[in-house]
């Protein structure tokens, strides 16, 4: 077996040193009653070339965004992942290291996490960030846990325009956390601050999304204000690559900013692994879930980095921990750091402007093709919803038959929107491709 390094000679020498005469003897501690006593029923082993052929065959039965012109978004997006991201993630040292428990062995990872935390704080306008959460959905549950303990309140408010999957995850965690979940319905594609204000009364936090699931821009500053007035923590779920052109949650009074990191540096990968980011105001630092890297000095007074505030964590606090998380998404967050460093402030702004310009063009072309906007009054960023004049599922089927995936059928999550299609336009799309989309949707 090419992953094993022992020769027959090694094995017998080792058994001798151990003082047993067979490998089996090592397993005597297992009661015979629970032993398997047969080989596992698994398919035959594949050699490396056969394995690659087998997986290539499986992969070939998927239609990826390179083999189909795709406008599918709804939370995961076909943004360009720069080559430097691959180059950095291929480094075996990053790939095969684990959580930097021993800081002197892992200064590289620790500094990268520290740089990542800084980038997330800068993007969101927050004071502190953790080293990553599992994804854009679980960080919402994390935020509720933080808010519950910070406020002592047990109600959480979710905007109906928050990604349905994110809401579903919060609801799944809720019984364990002892949380009551309340939702605020959307009006014309966004949330009304007044309604949020009411719902947030006595709540631990209120979570809204900017841009929201429909692609519409919420009146984020008012929503944040409304939550705060009610004494609830305002939590914004934001698109990291929108923050070159859209205001930072920290600038309009949010206590927590969370989001899905995939847009910044991760491949779509059928939904994961990605990273979720969670940033907060400094008051909340000791309630943050997950790893946090901090600066310190060594015995020579030189700067170095360590995992810090560990007394929040499960391995020390056990049942009183702020979270049970240990393995996180560091490698994906590293990809995020590399992507954001590649972009820089200028690139991030340009990326946002390109998305804005292309999606504006797409809206016009689609309107001309007989697909009017679902929420014509609302401003958008890179994604928007249109009516296709027939069941969206049907429009998708026919468009795909011409090699175009036109977007997401909102009817899957929202009743009464069966004819609504959610269209995402990233910087990878071109004018010609948008024309093609209009063409197939008109047909």
């Amino acid at each position: 077996m090419s992953f094993l390094s022992l020769t027959e000679r090694d094995r017998s020498q080792m058994l001798e040193t151990i003082g047993v005469d067979s490998l089996e003897a090592l397993f005597d501690q297992i009661p015979t009653g629970v032993r398997l006593g047969r080989a596992l029923e698994l398919e035959p082993a594949l050699s490396e070339p056969e394995l690659v052929a087998h997986l290539a065959e499986l992969a070939a039965r998927n239609v990826d965004t390179g083999s189909e012109l795709s406008f599918l978004g709804a939370g995961i997006y076909d943004h360009y992942v720069p080559a430097v991201v691959d180059a950095v993630l291929e480094r075996g040292e990053f790939l095969t290291a684990y959580t930097p428990y021993q800081p002197e062995m892992s200064q590289g990872v620790l500094q990268a996490i520290f740089e990542y935390q800084t980038a997330i704080c800068e993007l969101t306008g927050m004071d502190v960030s953790n080293a990553s959460g599992y994804d854009g959905a679980t960080v919402a549950a994390d935020a509720c846990y933080v808010a519950r303990h910070a406020t002592g309140r047990s109600k959480v408010v979710l905007a109906e325009t928050l990604n349905p999957q994110v809401r579903q995850v919060v609801k799944t965690y809720a019984p364990g956390f002892g949380l009551e979940v309340v939702e605020v319905p959307q009006e014309d594609g966004t949330i009304d601050p007044g309604e949020l204000r009411e719902a947030a009364e006595g709540a631990a936090c209120a979570i809204f999304q900017q841009p929201n699931f429909f692609g519409c821009l919420e009146p984020a500053p008012e929503l944040a204000a409304a939550a705060s007035e009610a004494g609830a923590l305002a939590v914004a779920h934001v698109d990291p690559v929108s923050l070159g052109v859209l205001e930072a949650p920290g600038a309009y009074g949010c206590s927590l900013a969370i989001g899905e990191g995939q847009q910044a540096g991760n491949y779509q990968s059928y939904g994961g692994p990605h990273y979720g980011f969670l940033a907060a105001r400094s008051e909340l630092i000791r309630r943050m879930p997950g790893r946090i890297a901090g600066e310190t000095v060594d015995t020579a007074g030189e700067r170095g980095f360590v995992l810090t505030l560990q007394t929040r964590e499960q391995h020390i606090r056990r049942e009183k921990a702020t979270s049970n998380m240990t393995t996180n998404q560091t490698l994906l967050a590293l990809a995020g750091l590399v992507h954001l460093s590649w972009l820089g402030p200028q690139g991030l702004r340009e990326l946002g402007e390109t998305c804005l310009a292309l999606s504006r063009y797409a809206k016009e072309r689609l309107a001309a093709a007989g697909c009017p906007l679902l929420f014509p009054e609302r401003a958008t960023f890179k994604e928007f919803a249109v009516r296709v004049g027939r069941p969206a599922q049907e429009a998708i089927r026919s468009a795909r038959s011409s090699g175009v995936h036109p977007g997401y059928a909102l009817g899957r999550d929202y009743t009464g929107l069966d004819d609504a299609l959610l269209v995402a336009v990233t910087e990878k799309r071109t004018v010609a491709e948008i024309d093609r989309l209009a063409e197939v949707l008109a047909a």
């Binding site: 080989a39 398919e43 790939l95 990268a112 800084t118 000095v297 810090t308």
Partner: protein, 499 residues
């Protein structure tokens, strides 16, 4: 080494982006970003050098031996990185129509079947993102199951032994349960007498790692099962140590009802400096209705996502879980095939060999053969020479080894938790043993060598207390105060490092 922000210069950039000639899109003024984020401004050449330098200051399995107990730091086959990068997997959108994602769905279905066979439980959900999320999911399943039976008011307690990993108690709290602890007996097994006393109608379930975090298989496991099943409680198997028993025995056959896998440990998803991971769970028939949605199901030659699970607890993560992790683990298991037991056999052989070489110099709290890992105590070195397990760990760095997990499990003073994994060569194990023995001698002859270690890393021993006292968790830009040059005494938390 400088931070990338300290290398940043206004006007530099590494990116180039399409700028179509189109009218700009409008944005409401009040939503426009006022002050740009201070992201790094570097050219591509500087960017590549920066991260190359950071990689050079990082020790991975590729760099050398990494016996971090309970973390299963085995070799990560490179073919897995090749297949996960196939565009058909890498660039597949999770909301792609099911008929256009048959390859991905089939892979997940096949992995479910494989995992079910490995642990001997019929129903699998791949969704949880890591072991600890698998734990929480499993506990939420217990809640739903007992609620469904109207027993939820009564069953409020989860029993956990004192050797348990910290995620277990933390998960219990997050699931809204009450923790009941039980001790470990002198042989390293769960104390059955205490267990009988603590288990009753109020018990929802047990969380157990077997082999335990001591690296010992619980010899009383059959009795433990009897105790819980008698009162109708459920048993949760923490699969973090599954690398010890694949193809040898199965949690399902031991009587466990719920199992989580740590794909990043047992099935070689690279640990990535902290993650990603994968924490699928497998359960008995009676718990299947409560599993997260969507379920990946097969209908004839077709594969589908089934959302119609009325009793489901819901979703614990977006989409179907960390798909890329599934691709690697599936590839890994297919490379072994039915001989997967060899993986565990050699893992156990390597551990016992190292144990045999080290137990003379370091104390062995429970004098038994071990499974895939073992726990030693540095108590004697501390008593006789005043060097701590932390000092031993730091000194190992000078011998170019990553230290084992230390100060865990908590019931062993000055614990050293060593897991070599099956992929290491005998030469490597011998070199590590020699280093550990040499350090044992140094402790007596030159204790300062240990106390001042490490000597050859890019930094000397770091001050963790200072970091926690006034946390600096992001670069401060202009206001950044230079780290004071005054040499501090090494103040490191003698707390669990690893696992």
């Amino acid at each position: 080494m400088k931070l990338i922000y300290e290398k940043s210069e206004a006007g530099r950039r590494a990116s180039s982006l399409p700028r179509p000639e189109l009218p700009a899109g409008e944005l409401p003024e009040e939503l426009r970003r006022a002050r740009p984020p201070r992201l790094p401004e570097v050219s591509e050449p500087e960017l590549v050098r920066h991260f190359t330098a950071l990689a050079d200051r990082t020790f991975g399995v590729d760099t050398g031996f990494y016996p971090l107990g309970s973390c299963t730091m085995k070799h990560n086959p490179r073919v897995n990185e090749r297949v996960v990068a196939l565009p058909g997997f890498r660039d597949l959108h999770p909301l792609q129509e099911e008929e256009a994602a048959q390859g991905a769905l089939e892979l997940m279905w096949r992995l479910q079947e494989i995992l079910a066979e490995i642990v001997g439980l019929p129903a699998v959900s791949l969704q949880p993102a890591a072991g600890s999320q698998g734990e929480l999911t499993g506990l939420l399943l217990m809640r739903a199951y007992f609620a469904d039976r109207g027993e939820d008011k009564r069953r409020r307690e989860i029993v956990i032994p004192d050797t348990a990993h910290g995620t277990n108690p933390a998960s219990v709290t997050m699931a809204g349960y009450t923790l009941v602890g039980v001790k470990t007996d002198p042989r390293g097994n769960v104390d059955l007498a205490e267990l009988r006393a603590k288990v009753g109608p109020q018990t929802a379930g047990l969380m157990l790692t077997n082999p335990s975090t001591l690296g010992l298989f619980d010899e009383g496991i059959e009795e433990v099962t009897r105790i819980f099943h008698e009162v109708g409680a459920l048993m949760y198997y923490d699969g973090a140590n599954l690398n010890a028993i694949c193809g040898i025995c199965r949690p399902g056959d031991m009587g466990f009802d719920i199992v989580h896998f740590n794909l990043h440990k047992t099935f070689s998803q690279p640990h990535g400096g902290g993650g990603p991971g994968g924490g699928p769970i497998a359960v008995r028939e009676r718990l299947e209705p409560f599993l997260p949605v969507p379920a990946v199901v097969r209908e004839g030659e077709e594969f589908r996502l089934d959302y119609e699970r009325p009793k489901s607890i819901g979703k614990v993560r977006g989409f179907c879980g960390p798909f890329g992790v599934f691709v690697r683990s599936y590839a890994y298991i297919r490379s072994y095939g039915p001989a997967l037991n060899e993986m565990s056999e050699v893992a156990v052989l390597n551990a016992n060999y190292l144990l045999a070489r080290l137990k003379g110099t370091y104390e062995l709290p429970f004098d038994r053969l071990c499974m895939h890992e073992f726990v030693l105590s540095g108590r004697r070195l501390k008593r006789e020479h005043g060097v701590t397990t932390l000092d031993v760990a730091k000194r190992l760095m000078d011998y170019r080894f990553h230290p084992p997990t230390i100060y865990f499990p908590l019931i062993v003073p000055e614990a050293l938790m060593i897991e070599p994994t099956e992929t290491e060569a005998k030469e490597t194990l011998d070199a590590f043993a020699e280093a550990m023995l040499a350090i044992g001698r140094e402790a007596a002859e030159h204790p300062e060598l240990l106390r001042e270690a490490p000597h050859i890393r890019p930094v000397k021993r770091l001050d963790e207390v200072r970091a926690a006292r006034r946390p600096v968790v992001r670069y401060q830009f202009e206001e950044h105060e230079e780290p004071s040059g005054e040499p501090a005494a090494p103040r490191q938390l003698e707390v669990q490092k690893g696992a």
